[in-house]
Structures are given as structure tokens and as C-alpha cells.
Amino acid sequence: MCNPRKITARATRQITEAWRAAIERTVRLGDTVSGRAELTQPLGSMLAEPARRAFEQAVVADPRWQLHDGAYDLDVQGGQAHYWPDSGELEISVELSAYVEVEGAATRVVEGIIEETVEASAEAGYYDDGAGGRTRARAEQEADALAEEEAERKAQLRAASARRKARKKADSAMQTGDDVQQQAEAEARSQLATERSRRGEELNRDAQELLDRVQQQSLRGIWETVALGYQNALLSYAESHGARNIDVSRSGGSVQIQFQMEA
């Protein structure tokens, strides 16, 4: 038997672990938007003096009109009406409001690769004469197998470590999305400005339509008040002058008063 000899085998494993983080930020913003419309009706110049007086007397007597800072205020649908006795102006304003909400989002993808090389080596002995069956070829086989086995074991350990490392990198990336947050906020602010403008225009149109309706209703109320003022004034005159056959009749949108008197 000769002196024993050794053979050393080496094995390597390449570990590749890719990681990817999609950093997403969503920002919601909301605000109240309003639309407004107003008009001023020069009742003083539209109404004859007696009609204006009749209207003002009715306003003073009507508890729905409240005197405040020289004007009579009346709540109307969506707003207020103000009558200024000094100037004879009727001012009507309506305001509509709505809450708008928008969402801004931004995304950034961060990715990377963790690459490592694992090495392992193993030895096996043999005899030049192959005593006991321990030939060089067999030793090479054994050493190779042991090295491969060790490399595989190490690779598995390192792969698990690489996966943890990749996960940490991805988590860390997710936490450092300040720029993405800022992008999302900027996007949300931009969308909010657009939505405010769009909804504001809609509300202005709606307010104008509402104002038209309120104006018609208000004017109708005013004309009814004026007509009632005429009626009361004339009937009062008729009664104080001993009129007979006083008759008040309504037809369509008109009121007719008839009476006879000696003058």
C-alpha cells in the first residue's frame, strides 16, 4: 500500500434574487364649491308711486320681510331678497354649493437584483495503487459529490438570506416614497382645481336658472301684492263714499272691481 493521497474538489452556486417594489401613493382632496347669481331690480322706477307704496306697505306688514340695516330681507329659495326702500331697489341673490372630492395617484416602480456566489470544497483520499478500492477516480467522484452537496447546502442558506435582504430592500423602498407622495398630492391639487372650476361653472349656471325662477316668483308675489293694494285702496274709497253694488270678481289672472256711487 502506498502513501495515501488527497484530492480536493470545488463547487460553486450562483444565487440571484430579484426584488421589485411598486410605490403607490393616493391622495384625496375635497372642498366646497359654490355658484352665485344675483340681480338688482329697480322697482322704484318700474312701479308707479301708488303701486310702490302698496308694495312697501305690504312688505312692512309681512313678518317674512325683516328690516335689517335699512333693507327688508326675505328668505327665498337658495338665497335672500333685499328691498331697499330708500332707492326702491330689489336685490335678489342665490347661492348654491356642493362638496367636490378628487383623488390623485402616483406610482413609481423600484427594482433590483441581489447576486451572490457560494463556494464549497471537499476532499477525498485515494491510493496510487487503488488499495481497498480507493482509486483516484473514485476519490474525485467522492470529492465532487461532497463539494456539490456542500455548495447546495450553503446556497440554500444564502438564498434564504438573499430573499430576506431583497424583501428588506423592497420594504425600505416602499417607505421612502416621499417624491411619490408629492406627485400624488400635486396630481390631486391639479384635479381639484379642474373640478372646482368645472363644478363652479355648473353651479353658476344652476344658480342663474334658480335666480330666474326666484325672480319670477318674487315678481309675481310683488304684482299680487300691488294688485291687492289697488283693490284695498279702491274698495276703501268706495266704502267711504257710500258706494253701492260693490262687486269684486276674479277671472283668469285678473281681478275686477265694480261699484256705483253718487259724486
Binding site: 308707479a48 301708488p50 303701486a51 315678481l219 304684482w223 294688485a227 289672472g253 272691481i257 265694480q258 256705483q260
Partner: protein, 89 residues
Amino acid sequence: MRVQVTFRVNTETGEVEFFQVDDTGQTRRLADHDAAHEQIALAIADVIDPQADVSEVIAIPGRAVAAHPVAPVPDAARRREGLEQGSAP
């Protein structure tokens, strides 16, 4: 003088549609009849509008007065009308 007052106002527009003071008396016309009739018409119109204009409408027998939706009155009858200024915008 006996008069018949007819006044009609549109409650939706405030417009005075018709305002007429008819002399329905059967008395003979006096020299100052027209002035008296006008005075009466103005006094009544003043209740509605002190600045009302008064104009005369003469009814011709057998013919309706086109400007007013009322039946013609006897020959002797004369009308004064005060037209209110108030009207819808």
C-alpha cells in the same frame, strides 16, 4: 252725478288692464258736465295713481267702443277713463 266705476288689474303682472268711470245718470247734460265728470274720474284715479291721465271715451249708439270690452252705453252716457301707468317690466 251717478257713476259706475270699473277697474281691472292683472295680478300676475300688476298691469291695470281697464279703468273706467261711466256716467250712468239720466240727467240732462249741464254746461260744466264734462269738467265735473273729469273731476270725478281724476278723484277716483288718484286713489291708484295721482299722475294718471284721464281721457274721454264717447260711445256712439249701436257701435261698440273698440278700446274697451264693455257694452255700449246710452247716448247720454259719457265715460271718463283713467289709465294707470303701472305695467309689467
